[in-house]
Symmetry: C2
Subunit: 351 residues, 2 copies
């Protein structure tokens, strides 16, 4: 029998952060696709749409008027999933019917006054103002809340209902599932090995090289060994950093650089505005500020759904929902493809 | 402050099977939707398409010719994610880069010779032949494999690339993530309480009544207390049953009845062929036949993505991927809506 080649032969890979496995079936890349194709992203977005509640100067559904903002603009989500107060459920009378209180706040951060721009097309300086706003919100909301989730859904295919460049921040009185699991796994790793898991992981990836997409003085961007989405990436600081608000001035600038280059590569892949959900995880806040959180390492995740083209995505359905996530392309193949894509955006390239 | 009302006030609910929480925000139902709308399912499917590799008598991509089958028809998936053999990865040299062997087989089960029929439009007798085939495959593949995952992706929106009524069976040499977690949670519950978790759960739901969608002599269908998808349902036997192949003749008939009525209600919701992913979980097979698996209870899950209409689905994106699943409609509201829908399919109703 041939010897094992990860780019050819099926295997499972372990995700130590989520304590889960992913099934990798590289031989399946040959499968034809006759299923659903998505609409490509809309390309002709007006710079200012008088009906778009996210544009400067416009009136939102609740009657409030946006300022004529020129940089970022943050406001309370008009339809928040989390309210600051409300009656809490009582104690549960049975272990199979357990409810717990949920309080929080949901905010929206517009990245730029224009609707027809996206992060990769913004300047490093403009991206930096977004990072500053994120850090500021982490501090402000982190005072009161246990978890502050910054996330961006980009593209209609990712449930984004407004093309204006923006992200969301949902802060909650509870630790959500994903960070709860990551808190456990990182704590266990730290106790056992004496190093934070993701600090060690970045060090190893720098040595191994084959999953690196981008790097600079402070940051590393890889397709993680255990990636589930075809072109999933993980952005890690090279230094041990607990939270976004702990970044130095230089690290914020170099993060803007990594973000601009990564998102440019994504857009260049299929020459469309590449859809994704992304977000930040770092040490919990609120009451957790008083605890030792050295097991945590700050990181951003990008989860883009596209697989073969601008209109064919990876469906995470039956087997993935009920059993285990499955991928065709290996993490190394995806990293190589991303690495080889130009750093200059196709819309800004000289022709 | 008003007293807590689960249908009005935000809260978290615990899923004891998956050891996860779901955020319930019923006040968010008022949110308007201006995001992506899906294409409605294709309604004019030809009964026999000479180019469809799933139809009787046709030639598949690998050159094999389908028999002129008149009931169900099972064959090996032409593009399997799991192959029966192949070189296995060696031992891992670092805890953050762990791979493990994955072997298995992927089969496709056509439910019926016609492409223009779906399970809810099939007769109880025809649905029964599908259940018999499932039980038979569980026995055959369960001899060799640790886990046999039966699942159906219905509708293009759920990644189903062929409209011909069919499901898939992926059997593997390993226990996938979802059953691995459920094995742990059910075992812990059984050790602590002396009853299988889902046997107790069904008993409680029969008493509480407010999440019941359907019931008959042998089966219960509920929107589980911890449902994540808007109209998610859980189908449970009333008796303690480890695996699909342990169902009696009567229980197979009454399951066909529950399936027909549930899927009819789903289709009647928006008067379209309702998309979903569904599948079965029961005690593991292969080497696990020799172990006490009393903590397991057989169950089927239906995960339909639609939320507001035939074309507006619930997006499980940013917050859901990175933090916790979030739902607007409560499980009780969804159950009531399903309960009140007719049992007669809109395509078969007298007018
Ligand atoms: O084998 P199919 O139906 O073509 O493929 C579909 O179901 C599989 C199992 O859930 C998924 O891995 C694929 O992404 C999906 O498109
Ligand atoms: O608030 P939005 O952007 O309208 O809503 C979007 O993101 C939310 C958070 O991931 C999801 O719960 C919604 O399903 C999705 O449509």
């Amino acid at each position: 029998m041939a010897s094992f080649d990860a780019n050819e032969h099926q295997h499972n890979r372990y995700n130590p952060l989520k304590d889960e496995w992913v099934l990798v079936s590289p031989h399946r890349m040959k499968r034809p696709w006759s299923g659903q194709v998505e609409k490509p992203p809309i390309e002709n977005i007006p710079r200012h749409d008088p009906k778009n509640p996210l544009c400067p100067g416009n009136t939102r559904p609740n009657g409030k008027v946006n300022p004529n903002y020129e940089s970022t603009f943050t406001f309370d989500n008009d339809f928040p999933a989390l309210l600051q107060e409300g009656p809490a459920p009582g104690p549960s009378d049975h272990p199979l019917f357990k409810a717990s209180p949920a309080n929080g706040t949901c905010q929206v951060v517009c990245f730029h006054p224009w609707s027809d721009i996206t992060l990769p097309l913004m300047s490093i300086k403009e991206i930096r103002t977004v990072i500053d706003k994120w850090a500021e919100l982490m501090v402000d909301l982190g005072k009161k809340y246990t978890w502050v989730q910054i996330f961006e859904n980009r593209g209609a295919i990712m449930g984004c209902s407004n093309p204006h460049p923006h992200c969301q921040v949902w802060a909650s009185s509870f630790l959500p599932n994903e960070p709860r699991v990551k808190d456990r796994t990182q704590r266990e790793y730290y106790t056992k090995h004496g190093t934070p898991m993701l600090v060690e992981y970045a060090k190893m990836e720098v040595q191994k090289k084959d999953r690196i997409v981008l790097a600079n003085a402070d940051w590393l961007c890889v397709v993680p060994y255990w990636a589930v989405w075809p072109y999933e990436t993980l952005v890690l600081p090279l230094r041990h950093i607990l939270r976004l608000q702990d970044l130095t001035d230089d690290e914020k600038n170099s993060l803007a650089d990594i973000m601009k280059r990564l998102l440019t590569k994504y857009d260049n892949m299929f020459q469309v505005s590449f859809p994704y959900s992304m977000g930040w995880h770092g040490a919990p806040t609120g009451e957790h500020y008083n605890e030792d959180q050295s097991h945590w390492q700050l990181h951003a995740m990008y989860y883009p759904p596209l697989l073969r083209s601008a209109t064919v995505k990876k469906f995470m359905v039956g087997y993935e929902m009920l059993a285990t996530s499955q991928r065709d392309l290996t993490a190394e193949q995806a990293a190589e493809k991303l690495r080889n894509l130009p750093d200059v955006h196709y819309k800004q390239a000289e022709t």
